[in-house]
Symmetry: C2
Subunit: 228 residues, 2 copies
DNA sequence: GTTAATTTCAGAACGCGTTCGAAAAGTCGG
DNA sequence: CCGACTTTTCGAACGCGTTCTGAAATTAAC
């Protein structure tokens, strides 16, 4: 697992495969078949190499996906955010929302293994903007972390639900309800039963932003440092 | 895949295995080894039966875990909630939080496949309470769904982070930061760099509840129906 | 009593991610 | 030129979830 730009110090068998080549081939396969269907063996076959070879250039399958998303995360712009701390937090979060919505499987990979463990591949400039906004607002560092985490859950959760719903076919609204709740006892759970297929209805982006604004508004003030 | 209490209409080879027996054995193995180490083959061996036999009593491995959690979800109490709609929503959400915190892997299974797809195994009485509270408050049905979803992300996200952090050893705080962000460029991301190991700090339950209160406060009012 | 239908059981096999150990293909010090 | 050393490659194998196919065991029908 050599560093990307490590200087060639010692010699060895010359590589026929490079990490960049692997990533490019993976991108191609994902674009064609979807990322669920990407397998290490097929990827190796695509390059024309043994499957185990890949493990010298990439740690894991997860690592492979991580690297792919990382490139995407670095491309997301984080310029032109408002000066006002609270507005900056909201705008940065909404930008993350839109970026993840544009590439839904990024959110799925980002949330594997504990929801924020893979955060390093997210658009870090925007994460920085949220934390910075919270601290400029007057939050303690610990609370700034908490503010970000809460926003992250709220944002990524919505994206995951959308991509999950999008992956299902169009007319399966009834299936949705069944998949969510199974057979609801209308006696015991009248409101859930009355909701019917509305459960599958996705909220528009504006609803997300409005909720975000209300959320941030309450959340920021909660952790402001006592001033002397 | 026969119904649990289906009347015996047609005959056939008498079963040596029952779904209840499978679930009980799975519970035992999970209690002993943790749910990550539960495999279909080991479970079948524990019962003393071929691996493929299990697939006649259970749809999937996911289905198996779903059934296990379902039993747990049904046991969680949802009585004694406050009358006031907003307070009811908050109390119900906090109860879900505590129930999931007490059995962290339940949250992990509940969030597989799109975050709310497995919602049917959650404590449905509490889900009902949240939706009912939102509607009593005056929200439209669609917004009540959105309110619940947002609370769900916020709550389960926190639980997932906790269980993920708990699974890691004690003194690996430094590892945490590395795992989260890799090598941070302190020039470009000064606030993230300054946070250092604080990222791994878990918020106390009170912080969650305070944030929840602020969240619900803003979220409920946003979707109130226009009154004639 | 025999046959048909039906249900459960299990061995073999598939593709998957991943690991192990050995072989291949170079550079380097002598 | 020649062995040490290093790095890359790859076939074989493991355990996994799952499917296929056929055998076993029972009741229902005649």
């Amino acid at each position: 697992m050599p560093q990307a730009n490590a200087p060639r110090l010692k010699a060895g068998r010359p590589p026929t495969t490079s990490r960049a080549q692997i990533l490019a081939a993976a991108r191609g396969l994902i674009d064609r078949n979807g990322w669920e269907r990407l397998t290490i063996r097929k990827l190796a076959a695509e390059i024309g190499v043994g499957a185990t070879t890949l493990y010298h250039h990439v740690q894991d399958k997860e690592d492979l996906l991580f690297l792919l998303i990382n490139e995407y995360g670095e491309q997301v712009s984080h310029s032109g955010l408002p000066e006002d701390p609270q507005e900056r937090v909201i705008a940065a979060a909404a930008t993350i929302h839109d970026a993840l919505a544009a590439w839904p499987w990024a959110a799925e990979v980002l949330t594997t293994d504990g929801f924020i463990a893979r955060l390093g591949a997210s658009p870090l400039g925007l994460v920085e903007a949220i934390v910075a906004g919270a601290i400029d607002y007057g939050c303690t560092p610990d609370h700034a972390v908490y503010v970000f985490r809460s926003i992250w859950y709220y944002t990524v959760g919505e994206i995951l639900v959308r991509s999950h719903t999008a992956r299902r076919g169009g007319d399966e609204a009834a299936t949705h309800r069944g998949a969510f709740f199974g057979n609801i006892d209308a006696e015991k759970l009248p409101h859930l039963a009355a909701l019917g297929d509305r459960w599958a209805v996705l909220a528009p982006r504006d609803t997300y932003v409005d909720g975000l604004r209300a959320f941030v508004d309450g959340l920021l003030g909660q952790g402001v440092q006592a001033k002397p």
